[in-house]
């Protein structure tokens, strides 16, 4: 307090005199005692001198003690040097900090001049040390040397090896490492360093090794390899560690050399020095990391004891959990690795306990019984006096809470007391953990604590909290009122874009999923856009408002907010406000005349886009435009989502050549191409002929379609519904390679065979089945007729029959005679998934509800014993060939049940939505409930048939 008051009295002078005193430092009596009101300059000098007195004493006194000569070196010079400028002048216009710095006014040029003293025949070790320190200071402050300067300094530095002064030698080592000389320069110091490497002084040996290994290349390395191997098993731990750490570094550049040191490193693992053990273990593991068996053996032998260093223990824990992860979960029986992890929870060192607890919580498929001991030790850490320990514990528990919330609830009381923790990172993690584990009754209490909390944490923490609140609200929909209030309060406060976006997204999600929350949520959003500085958020909210607002009980109250945007905002926001107004006009008849008035005013807007939109919507709502005759068409136009993937649209637009015919948006393929398939196709080298498209994959469909429509026989098949990914009928790397693409039409299936062979001319025949073959070089098509719209399935057996003909190399012509040959190919199957297009929907819930409930068919299936839930889910998805929505194809590990949402378009352009609920029992029996809705109830039944047969 004393200090602060003074500061107010003399606000300008004090920072000058006491800048080094943190205000919150009441614990230094010496400083308190000498805290007069701004003293004149000389008295400051006295104070400073006084403060440093003991030190000068200590250092200056024993000039006779060789051990202290180094202290003397710097200490007396600094105050002496400072004495002159201080008293004379400069006291007013310089920062205090520069004032006292021994590096005051340091200049690179001058220091480089000073470095010439390195060439002196009689080296002054102390002076050289000072110059090196100055050079290092410059580098440390971010100064750089030019190539010439660096070379000059480097050569000068190498001269200093002549000095026997140990302190100077250390600085020389540092300097060489900092300069990182080039290969031709390195040669100059190699011999000096190699001499030091074999010196009797351990300090020289250790440092010379570290320096040399940093700067040499692999050819030089082989020369000194022998010494390094020796050093690894040196009895001095510092030397051994230096060699081992250098080995870890060299492993990146010359792995083949370092791998030869295995035996020595193995010996070092048994060292009695804790750190040597740690470094040896790290190196040994890196040498063997690609050999799973060796790592496993290493871990097995070491977990039986003998590793004492805490750091080495931490390494061993990491390696152990790696081995467990790679060997898969071993259920029951002997589990030596897990037992080792558990035993580490009882280690003396906190870092080992933490490492082990973390490893256990991160194990795949960990059970709550296995978790308990780990959670218990972490709980103890929560009430530690050390912030780092509390942080470590709460961070780990926070992660566990996402997968095993119940396991963490025991810690809730400790966690609640952490909300008021001084360290805001800890407090944030505590709050979000509580939000994850909390139950319905604790929500209100938590919210109260949060309100105070939010004001003093950074945006990035706030985002974490907002996300936690969103998931909490979805978990307890009844609590939406207090949670929504909380969100709207923080929305009004200051914050950056990411933070505001997180809040807005959360509110929108809550409105979508909790019908009761709609009106209040929309109201909060309207309030927000009245004063929103982010264009992106304004347009997002306006779009959402247009979709949801008209369906509320009193849509008219939103109009004011929307029209205000047209008056007050920038062009982007205005345009989107116009669209929103039109949506209200289309859905709410009573508002239509007033909307017309507002839209007409927009016709005079200064921006093209705004005017265009206003004009379009006026015509549309007035029934003048050609979009459609009925009101439904108008609504479809206004509200219809773009059901075409943007990538596909982009490709089609790029391929569109300007012509008389307008671009037809319905010609854009709707199927989402997933990236992995595309990559696989691109690398499939076997595709030849016109269909081998090496460019971007979305164009494959277009090129297929072009190709097929160019064949007259297929012209009357109608529009291509789907082309499958190429199916290989031969095994990889065989003599002939044949792959097949299945093209599905409403009434036909075309099998498109693509065959190729290294360098012989090959004619492909195909066995026609009830239809025409069409030959193209290397490609053939077989068309099969099938009942219109019916997903006929079946298997085709294939034989490649061909005539091998000799080709005259000179003319390139084939001889007439050939040898018949036959080549058995794998069967080709036409499955139901071939009749399904993967078409995603953006909002599954809305889409599901908009479909006729009459078309819904529900049934349950037992899927038998499965490897895992995830495996069962992906199997069903691939049988149906539909697009997973909202990321529901990913099954969280360890979950016992899962809901998967699928959408697609079945042949005949029938939209299908599927909701799958999976459950897995203890002996891995999977049961599934399948609910289907589609435009056609018959198709719903068909989906069930597919699953029943699949």
């Amino acid at each position: 307090l004393n200090c602060i008051r003074r500061k107010e009295n003399a606000p300008q002078r004090l920072p000058f005199f006491f800048p080094s005193q943190p205000d919150s430092d009441p614990c230094c009596p010496l400083r308190h005692s000498c805290k007069p009101p701004p003293p004149p300059v000389p008295s400051l000098r006295i104070q400073r001198g006084h403060r440093h007195h003991p030190r000068v004493d200590a250092a200056a006194a024993p000039a006779c003690s060789p051990a202290l000569s180094s202290r003397v070196r710097v200490a007396p010079t600094a105050p002496a040097a400072m004495a002159q400028p201080l008293v004379v002048k400069k006291d007013d216009d310089l920062d205090e900090e520069e004032y006292y710095s021994p590096f005051l006014g340091i200049e690179k040029g001058a220091v480089l001049q000073e470095a010439r003293c390195f060439h002196d025949p009689q080296l002054d070790a102390r002076r050289c040390c000072q110059v090196i320190t100055k050079l290092l200071y410059l580098l440390n402050q971010g100064d750089t040397f030019t190539k010439v300067e660096a070379t000059e300094v480097f050569f000068a530095t190498t001269k200093l090896f002549q000095s026997k002064d140990a302190g100077l030698r250390r600085m020389v080592y540092l300097m060489i490492k900092e300069l990182s000389p080039s290969a031709d320069e390195v040669i100059i110091v190699t011999s000096s360093l190699m001499k030091d490497m074999n010196s009797k002084t351990d300090m020289y040996r250790a440092n010379a090794i570290r320096v040399l290994c940093r700067i040499i290349d692999s050819t030089l390395l082989t020369q000194i390899e022998r010494y390094l191997k020796q050093a690894i098993v040196d009895k001095n731990p510092v030397v051994a560690s230096a060699a081992l750490v250098s080995g870890i570094y060299l492993l990146q550049t010359s792995p083949e050399v370092v791998k030869r040191w295995s035996n020595e490193v193995q010996e070092a693992v048994q060292s009695r020095s804790a750190l040597v053990q740690f470094h040896a273990l790290a190196l040994l593991h890196q040498i063997r990391q690609n050999d799973r068996l060796a790592v496993s053996k290493l871990v097995t032998s070491l977990t039986r004891g003998s590793v004492r260093s805490p750091l080495a223990q931490c390494l061993l824990i990491r390696y152990t959990s790696q081995v467990i992860r790679e060997s898969g979960v071993s259920q029951g029986g002997d589990r030596p690795f897990f037992d080792f992890l558990e035993s580490c929870l009882r280690n003396k060192a906190e870092m080992v306990i933490l490492e082990a607890a973390r490893a256990i919580t991160e194990l795949n498929g960990v059970t709550s019984r296995e978790l308990t001991p780990a959670i218990t030790v972490l709980q103890l850490f929560l009430s530690s006096s050390k912030p780092v320990l509390r942080f470590a514990a709460v961070r780990t528990l926070n992660k566990v809470a996402s997968t095993h919330p119940l396991a963490v609830t025991n810690c809730n009381i400790d966690m609640e007391s952490l909300i008021s923790d001084q360290n805001r990172s800890i407090a944030t993690l505590a709050i979000t953990t509580l939000l994850k584990t909390g139950n319905e009754s604790s929500v209100d209490r938590l919210m109260k604590q949060m309100t105070n909390f939010m004001s003093d944490i950074a945006d990035e923490f706030k985002i974490v909290v907002v996300e936690a609140i969103r998931s909490l609200c979805l978990k307890f929909p009844l609590k939406y009122r207090s949670l929504m209030n909380f969100l709207s309060n923080i929305l009004r406060e200051e914050g950056g874009f990411e933070y505001k976006k997180a809040i807005v997204d959360s509110i929108i999600i809550l409105i979508r999923d909790i019908p009761d929350a709609k009106e209040s949520g929309l109201f909060h959003l309207c309030e927000f856009i009245e004063d929103c500085e982010f264009t992106y958020l304004s347009t997002q909210i306006l779009h959402f408002l247009g979709n949801e607002g008209p369906k509320t009980s009193d849509p008219s109250k939103y109009i004011r907010y929307i029209y205000n945007r047209v008056i007050l905002e920038n062009a982007t926001v205005r345009a989107s406000a116009v669209s929103t107004l039109a949506k209200f006009g289309a859905l709410v008849d009573s508002l239509k005349p007033r909307i017309f008035v507002l839209l007409r005013r927009c016709l005079f807007d200064g921006d093209d886009e705004v005017r265009d939109r206003a004009t379009l919507y006026l015509k549309l709502l007035g029934g003048e435009a050609t979009v459609g005759e009925t009101e439904k068409d108008v609504n479809d136009f206004l509200f219809g989502a773009l059901d075409i993937p943007l990538v596909n649209l982009e490709t089609s637009l790029r391929n569109y050549e300007p012509s008389e015919a307008p671009f037809d948006i319905s010609s854009v393929p709707k199927e989402t191409k997933s990236q992995p398939i595309a990559e696989k196709k691109a690398t499939g080298k076997k595709a030849t002929g016109p269909s081998a498209v090496s460019g971007p994959i979305p164009s494959v469909d277009a090129s297929y379609e072009k190709l097929l429509s160019s064949i007259p026989e297929f012209a009357d098949f109608g529009k291509l519904f789907k082309s499958s990914a190429p199916v290989e009928l031969t095994e990889a790397e065989t003599e002939y390679s044949v792959n097949v693409v299945k093209h599905i039409y409403d009434g036909h299936v075309v099998v498109h065979v693509d065959a190729s062979e290294a360098d012989e001319f090959l004619e492909v025949m195909s066995k026609p089945l009830r239809s025409l073959p069409c030959d193209a070089p290397g490609q053939t098509f077989v068309a099969f007729e099938k009942p219109e719209g019916v997903p006929a399935t079946g298997k085709f057996s294939n034989t490649l029959r061909f005539i091998v003909k000799e080709v005259d190399p000179s003319t390139g012509e084939a001889e007439d005679d050939g040898v018949d040959d036959e080549y058995q190919l794998e069967d080709l199957e036409i499955v139901s998934a071939d009749y399904m297009l993967k078409v995603g929907v953006s909002n599954f819930r809305n889409a599901w509800e908009s479909m006729d409930p009459e078309s819904e068919r529900v049934d349950e299936y037992g899927l038998g014993v499965r490897e895992s839930l995830a495996e069962a889910v992906s199997a069903v998805i691939s049988i149906l060939g539909m697009q997973p929505c909202e990321g529901t194809d990913v099954v969280p590990s360890n979950s016992r049940s899962h809901t998967c949402l699928l959408s697609g378009v079945f042949i005949g352009n029938v939209k299908v939505l599927v909701r799958l609920s999976f459950g897995i029992s203890a002996p891995k029996e999977v049961a599934m409930k399948l609910a289907v809705r589609s435009d056609d109830p018959e198709i719903s039944d068909k989906i069930h048939e597919i699953v029943a047969n699949g």
């Binding site: 006194a61 006292y100 440390n140 600085m171 570094y249 870092m351 001084q422």
Partner: protein
């Protein structure tokens, strides 16, 4: 996954966030401006905290930073998000203990700058290429100071003994002279 705990940098800044001595061991911050920007944000994020004798911790941008303040010096040790924060804390502890020993309990910016050579050697002895070399403050200080002894054999403890003897001898000399 990184299996060996790695230190990404050790920073020693003053009470205004300016460098006293820094050492980077990873290439997360390739340029000088990236380094300075990181130092600035670390400093800003930790300024409010009253880190005293206990090390404090903060996590941001995928980095974990443990730190403590002594007088006008701010000590920071940075590691990756996945790393064991207690290992970083032990490095921080070793660093500040060693500095404390080397500067003979007068840990402030002025003394640190006057003995910058010791600080730089200290950084060199704690971590090599991101790998922890030593975490025991007294051992680090010993390694640094032994280099400055003539034969590398006089330990700090011995130095204090020698010092005491010299002072005694001086006293004796004075009393004899008088």
């Amino acid at each position: 996954m990184e299996t060996c705990p790695k230190v990404k940098n050790i920073l020693l800044l003053d009470s205004e966030g300016k460098r006293v001595a820094v050492k980077y061991y990873s290439d997360d911050w390739p340029t000088l401006s990236a380094k300075l920007a990181f130092e600035k944000s670390v400093f800003a994020k930790t300024q409010k905290a009253n880190a005293g004798t206990e090390a404090e911790i903060v996590m941001f941008d995928g980095q974990i930073v443990v730190y403590k303040f002594i007088q006008d010096l701010h000590f920071f040790v940075t590691g990756g998000e996945e790393d064991n924060e207690l290992i970083l804390a032990s490095v921080l502890q070793g660093f500040s203990d060693a500095i404390d020993l080397l500067l003979r309990n007068i840990v402030d910016k002025r003394t640190a700058l006057e003995n910058l050579d010791l600080i730089l050697l200290c950084l060199d002895e704690i971590v090599d290429g991101g790998i922890v070399l030593e975490t025991e403050g007294s051992v680090i200080a010993e390694k640094v100071s032994s280099a400055h002894g003539m034969d590398g054999a006089t330990s700090l403890a011995e130095q204090t003994l020698v010092q005491a003897l010299t002072t005694a001898r001086e006293h004796l000399a004075k009393s004899l002279l008088m």
